[in-house]
């Protein structure tokens, strides 16, 4: 027997919605843990120094990607620095860290802190793109209540 009605036009193609709630629990590792503890307890931003090229990286990480050497010398860097790139994000999307819609607008900024050679990604208090330029000096503003979380212990960077 051959069934009739096998063409796409004979019936609608189905689609099925699937909302997935998949919790993750990540290990921060030694270097990031050290960084987060210092933010929480001492309001201090830590970097780590390469023994060969002497570059200071923020946040600290296990190896220098240029020299592939293990880094062990933690050094505090300034809470002030310069904006090296920024964007004011207005496109809606889901924050995968929380599963909630990302709160808009926000300014994602790359900040070269004094005493460091890399750029730290964080956010600026200012969300008017006309008032922001690369090269601007900014300072970290810490939250009074700190939980050991990079995203909230540094509340934002403000233009100085």
């Amino acid at each position: 027997m051959v069934l009739q009605g096998n063409k796409k036009k004979d019936f609608g193609i189905l689609s099925i919605s699937c909302v997935v709630d998949v919790p993750y629990h990540y290990n921060a590792g030694f270097f990031v843990s050290r960084y987060l503890r210092e933010l929480k307890e001492n309001k201090r931003i830590l970097g780590v120094k390469c023994p060969k090229c002497h570059k200071v990286y923020v946040p600290p990480r296990v190896v220098c990607s240029d020299c592939f050497l293990k880094m062990e010398e933690f050094v505090p860097v300034s809470d002030q620095g310069a904006v090296t790139g920024f964007t004011v994000v207005t496109v809606p999307y889901t924050n995968p860290n929380t599963g909630e819609p990302k709160k808009l607008p926000y300014t994602c900024a790359y900040i070269k802190l004094d005493g460091s050679d890399s750029n730290l990604m964080h956010c600026l208090e200012e969300t008017d793109s006309k008032k922001i330029k690369t090269g601007m000096r900014v300072q970290a503003v810490f939250n009074d209540i700190r939980t050991g979380d990079h995203f909230t212990d540094i509340k934002y960077f403000k233009i100085i």
Binding site: V91, Y93, S118, L120, M121, S129, F151
Partner: protein, 388 residues
Amino acid sequence: MGKLTAIVGVGQTHHKSKNSECNGQELIGIAVRRALKSADISIKEIDAVVVANMDHFESINYVDMWSVLGFGGYKKPVMKVTTGGTSGSAVGHAGFYHVASGLFDIVLAIGWEQNSESDTTAAIVTHCEPFIERDFYGGAIGGLASQYSAYMDKYGATEEDAALVSVRDRCNAAINNPYAHLRQTISVKDVMNSRYIAYPLRLLHMCPRSDGACAVIFAEEKKAKKINKKPAWVLGVGSSHGATYLGDSIPFLGLKSLEKAARDAYKMAGITKPLKEIDVGELYLPSASAGVSWMESMGFCGEGGGPKFIRSGITDIDGDFPINPSGGVISTNCIGATGLIRIGEAALQVMGRAEKRQIEGAQVAMATGFGGCFWSDVTIISSKKKLR
């Protein structure tokens, strides 16, 4: 250098924002059948398959198994390649490496994505380290926007310069490419009137997300000549990664990984003056801003020379150095397929089979891939077996 390898067949779907008629396997099937038809061979002649997408976009694990229904790879060697935005260009390189190694004669490379099935930006953001960058990174859009704000401030480039790239690519797609997703002609005014999605990028500066698939067939020299009278020889490949933290990669002006990958591919192909020796570029420019600030990274102009280069019109379809006659990524972006489409389009150009988007007399074409933490792939393809 391995065995001489050529592209002998290319197939792609008609890309769109939501392909509700197909599931992913059926979508792959369309591209594969079109590629086999263009090479005039059957799936039986394929020795191995490499397949690419970003598996967390559709949240389907073991795509190498799941997608067998789309390409008839049962009992064949199959390898999955997932490298983020470069998945498509990396799977093209994997196809090339499979053949150039001498272990396989004919290899099918497939890239695909059903972007309409999930929240693309949320999925992209998960490539960021969860404790330091994930909360602030605005996906590919945010990263590219930050890079261009730095380029604008340093070199005086403008939003209008990027708009010229949008207009070029969208008009090429609209007029010349029936496979492209967005096919409307636009003007600089349209771009500048569209809303910001991440300052300084506006909606019409940015690529869409598309549903689509592409398949490209690679073959070793003897079989290539038998299958295709005018195969597209792969003469150079280069691949280079950025750093893990985006803060280490992005704010740099230009794109360091592209600079390195291009240099390696030019060297392998014997190219010393890219602007003179390459006839057409199919470049993975995910945003119009990249079409300005990355030109110097491939050696097409000097440092900070992007705006002047684009304003000159040299990259228009009737210019001396046409870029993206297909309409590029700004017109079509089925992410796992996007890089492979660049390779496929570059091959069609040197085979003389690019139909309405054909650049007359194109003998050397360049294809690039971009993705993830600002890394790059470059492929040089030619109708000639060697350039020097």
